[in-house]
Amino acid sequence: MIIDAHTHLEPLVDSQAKAHTAYGMVPGNLQDYLRQFDENGVDACFTFMRRGLRLESRICESNDGLARARDKAPGRIYPWGTVHSAWPEKKIRSEIRRIAKVHGFHGLKFAPIVQGYPLSAAGMDIVAEEAIDLDLPVTSHDGSPEYCSAIQVAYYARKYPKLRVISAHAGLRELWPDLIDAAKELPNLWICLSGPTQWGIQTLYDRLGPEKLLFGSDGGLGHPAITTAYLRRIERLKAPKKHKEMILGGNALNFIKGHVPGSQPDGCL
């Protein structure tokens, strides 16, 4: 079973248009998204919004759109919502509770580089309090100074040891080495491999083993080859088959709310 722990879907219908091109491609609808992952043999995805991460005014609407997409493709889409750290405290708390309890989301996704604040912003303390209380993991874009480098994601995990934190890009091409010591030290820090070089992915595996690593592609919005490329990287990883299976999906199961160890999520192939 393959679970892609980092994908994006555009839930805003008016943003599925040429004017909102992502990397030269028009963002597709839910069917396009599912087809891309079918073609790549991916069974299920952790699904994040797209434009809502940049447009604070459309976050709640995007959270709702992800919930609708999940309802149309249960077992394939595991939505992670977002809030904005600059919102009033009451709104941060209420929206997190709404997407956790009403929508049943599986985690929170942040992209501080486009949302415009560092992980050390006061609002992220409120996020952590709620996420811990609701047992929601948090994933953050990383690899991008000055708001969300890899070491800043490590800080967030260190600051909140009861919060499960996933580095969404493993520090991208250059900052992944910061995660080696951090992931060894911090039991609450995991690493999604959507970003490092092949050597970086291999080194993270060699130094950390498979338990902390998750396959992710950042696919869903553009060309299906985005996902193919990262599947090739895991395929060429020098590691036993069992470890590759953990990285490709086994470890991600632990982040699916209500998952019973040893079983597969409903709807998975």
């Binding site: 992502a22 991208l172 091409r173 970003g195 050597w199 060309h223 080859a225 985005i226 193919t228 490329a229």
Partner: protein, 246 residues
């Protein structure tokens, strides 16, 4: 289809090791006829002469498969320019600058003496880009504007966060081309949509990446034969002004 890899490293670094034999084996597996080699790791940062000699040795042993780029840390001042002059005189055909490993801001005038040697020799410069504050695409554009007679390769095309800057910068300097390593299908599509395909050259950055995989991924997106011919061979020959022996 003729394939030239514009960016690979060899050396016995502190963190990475990659010798010429491994490189050639991987080139054969990937169907790459020719690669442009530079030192890496400590050889890029400090032990420059040792690195240049290692690349020279590989190039002299395999002149039909490899060309090489010289390195020298500009903080060594006049002796850095002399080392570049020596290595080019011995047979290397380009210069690689890595402002992150060598500790300077890419547009800093500290690098000018090295670029002057490259200009005199008529060889291209490869510059690492993609690191915030010290090695951004627009830094390279400044260098290219200061040295309009020199051809520049924008290493890694600003990957990963500077994909817009990499393409936008091209309009300010006709003497800059973008090199593909560290990029993937998303940025390939961005280059296509931005009309930048004629300015793209293929590089794998081996051993950071496996050339075979990088070529497969490139071909997933660039499906037109004319585009592939340019990216894989023709454009890098243009950057080298016909000096590559392939």
């Amino acid at each position: 289809m003729k394939t030239i890899d514009a960016h690979v490293h060899i050396g016995d670094g502190v963190r990475m090791r990659h010798d010429a034999d491994s490189l050639l084996k991987n080139m054969d597996k990937a169907g790459i006829e020719f690669s442009i080699v530079c030192p890496m790791d400590r050889h890029m940062a400090v032990a420059n002469r040792e690195g240049n000699d290692l690349v020279l040795k590989a190039v002299k042993m395999h002149p039909d498969r490899l060309a090489g780029m010289a390195v020298a840390n500009p903080w060594f001042g006049g002796s850095a320019a002399e080392e570049i002059r020596r290595a080019l005189g011995e047979g290397l055909t380009g210069v690689n600058i890595h402002s992150v490993l060598q500790g300077f801001r890419l547009a800093d005038h500290i690098v000018d003496p090295i670029l002057e040697v490259a200009a005199e020799a008529g060889v291209p410069i490869y510059a690492h880009t993609g690191t915030a504050g010290v090695a951004e695409p627009f830094h390279l554009i400044e260098l290219a504007r200061r040295f309009p007679a020199v051809n520049f390769l924008m290493g890694h095309a600003g990957a990963s966060d500077y994909y817009n800057d990499a393409v936008r910068g091209l309009e300010f300097a006709r003497n800059v081309w973008i090199e593909s390593s560290r990029n993937g299908p998303a940025n390939y599509c961005h280059w296509q949509a931005s009309g930048a395909v004629e300015r793209v050259v293929f590089g794998s950055s081996a051993p950071e990446y496996i050339p075979e995989i990088e070529l497969e991924t490139l071909r997933d997106v660039f499906t037109e034969t004319t585009d592939l011919e340019r990216i894989l061979a023709k454009t890098i020959q243009q950057v080298y002004r016909g000096r590559l022996p392939v």
